[in-house]
């Protein structure tokens, strides 16, 4: 009796010392939401993907990899998402580098660069179709200037989807890159300058190594957005052939053929492919310097 009463507060105390106390109950509602709405559906989908309408346990996966029309959607998607992500991340570095310092109208410029987030895929697609289409302003200007003699094929193909992903994705990568870049103390570069490093050397030896881990995160998040490309592939692309991305295949299976099992299988494959890419990027990131960036806060 006395031992029990003595042990009880001691246990509570010991737990509290390791950080377990009633405050952790505050996590419960949040975890419940994630468990019920994310984890459970995901596991349900995983299990459903192994219970196909016809055939054995792996029938859905066998069908996916056996049918070139389905299998190739992975390459189509990677072929659109990877270039779009590289363009967005690489373009955002110099622009963020210039805009990081004190520039006149910085706030305005940042705002304008962020605005494409509000466009939404439909306006972007409509805009691309009208502006970049055969009779659009872009082709008109190019013809008037004598740069081309016939309209450039910019829409309803690969280029259309790529442009759409760059327009909607760039602001996002730019914001992330700018904030990582702003976290690097400029006095590090000034120190390098006093040692005689020129601009290129300062960027290559000081800024880029400090920025690289942030760039890896930016790459991952931008890739997630580009990889799930769905509406723009439908609207600005050629969804039956050249831009038949994996999300179209997944949607088609689940909600047009009402084969939820197959739809889930494709969704699981999407997750696998995406996690492989993210895993590769994060493995590369782990080899980088991740100490203090001398940040301002």
């Amino acid at each position: 009796m006395t031992a029990a009463t003595a042990a009880r507060p001691a246990l509570r105390h010991r737990l509290a010392e390791r950080g377990i106390d009633r405050t952790l109950l505050l996590l419960v509602p949040g975890l419940l939401v994630i468990a019920c709405l994310f984890l459970y559906p995901f596991l349900y989908g995983l299990q459903l993907s192994f219970a196909p309408r016809r055939g054995g346990v792996f029938a859905n996966y066998a069908r996916f990899f056996g049918d070139p029309y389905l299998r190739d959607t992975i390459w189509t998607t990677l072929g659109i998402a990877l270039p779009a992500t590289f363009i967005n991340v690489l373009a955002s570095i110099p622009i963020a580098y210039v805009l990081r310092g004190r520039v006149r109208g910085k706030r305005l410029l940042t705002t304008i660069l962020v605005v494409p987030i509000t466009l939404g895929t439909v306006l972007t697609a409509q805009g691309l179709i009208m502006y970049g289409g055969p009779a659009g302003w872009l082709n008109k200007v190019l013809t008037v200037l004598g740069i081309t003699d016939q309209p450039l094929p910019l829409i309803h193909n690969y280029t259309g989807v790529l442009l759409s992903l760059v327009i909607t994705g760039f602001p996002f990568s730019f914001l992330l890159t700018l904030s990582y870049l702003s976290g690097i103390d400029p006095s590090l570069e000034k120190a390098a300058a006093t040692l005689g490093a020129n601009g290129v050397q300062r960027f290559r030896r000081i800024t880029l190594p400090l920025l690289a881990p942030g760039l890896a995160i930016t790459f991952c998040l931008s890739f997630v957005m580009a990889f799930s490309v769905f509406p723009s592939a439908q609207l600005a692309g050629d969804p039956a052939n050249e831009t038949r991305v994996i999300s179209i295949a997944a949607y088609h299976a689940a909600f047009e053929e009402y084969d939820y099992s197959m739809g889930s299988a494709v969704a699981m494959l999407m997750a696998v492919v995406m996690l492989i890419v993210i895993g590769l990027v994060m493995a590369w990131r782990a080899t980088l310097y991740r100490g203090a960036t001398g940040g301002k806060g």
Binding site: T23, L27, G30, V33, I117, L119, G120, A125, Y180, G199
Partner: protein, 275 residues
Amino acid sequence: MTGWVARPGRWVVWAVVAFFFVNLAGLVLSVVVDSFGTQWFGSWLPAGFTTHWYADAWREFGLSDVLLTTAVVALVVIAVSVAVGVPAAYALARRSFPGKRLVMLLFVLPILIPPITYGIPLATVLYKVHLAGTTTGVILANLVPSVPFVVLTMTPFIEQIDPKIEAAARMSGARTTSVFTRILGPLLLPGILAASILVLVRTVGMFELTFLTAGPDSTTLVVALYNSVFAAGIRANQSVDAMATIYTASMLLLLLVALRFVNPTQLVTRIREET
């Protein structure tokens, strides 16, 4: 600014930015001009201007209902994700405990996995429990990325608040509830406001999840817009453009309000702005 002449790289960067802006402006203007145009075939500008496409779009697409649904979904998602996410963020910011990394992973995953990937199994489950196609289903689906978003943006915000303030309140005899309502609440309000506005922007713009779970009576603006492009029957391009313009204008308004409260570059790392 002595380096202007010495740094040709800067000029290249500005030229690229200018090129992006010009084309972006052209793209947006094409849609806006067309939404006000009567007929536009191959010329530089439409033959005449009118506003009747907006009236048409409003009526044809039942925009008042759609906007109401959008508002209800967004407000409920904000309320629930703040109510659930802020306490969780508090626990994560204040305590380190075994398994914390696992909990963090659980909150990061829904943001790392594309909506359409978990949206398909989620929609399947919602169909099973007869919630798909209802406004509740749309709200539940939109909570998946929103709750983690609130948790992840609020955690660093709470970490910045000195725990001594809470300790002092407790020393003076405040109970947990009053610590939350009278000490933390007011201090967290700006952060909560910022997170709410960003959740609002995300929810209004969230296409995939709503598209997968919405029924005829529960579509939000972004899905109605997409459906209008594919709608059966001959749909005037101008009226789709009018609707796209309405959508973008409202998103722009939301974003500009959001930018007044948060510096977008501080979402990842908090920096002291030197002005």
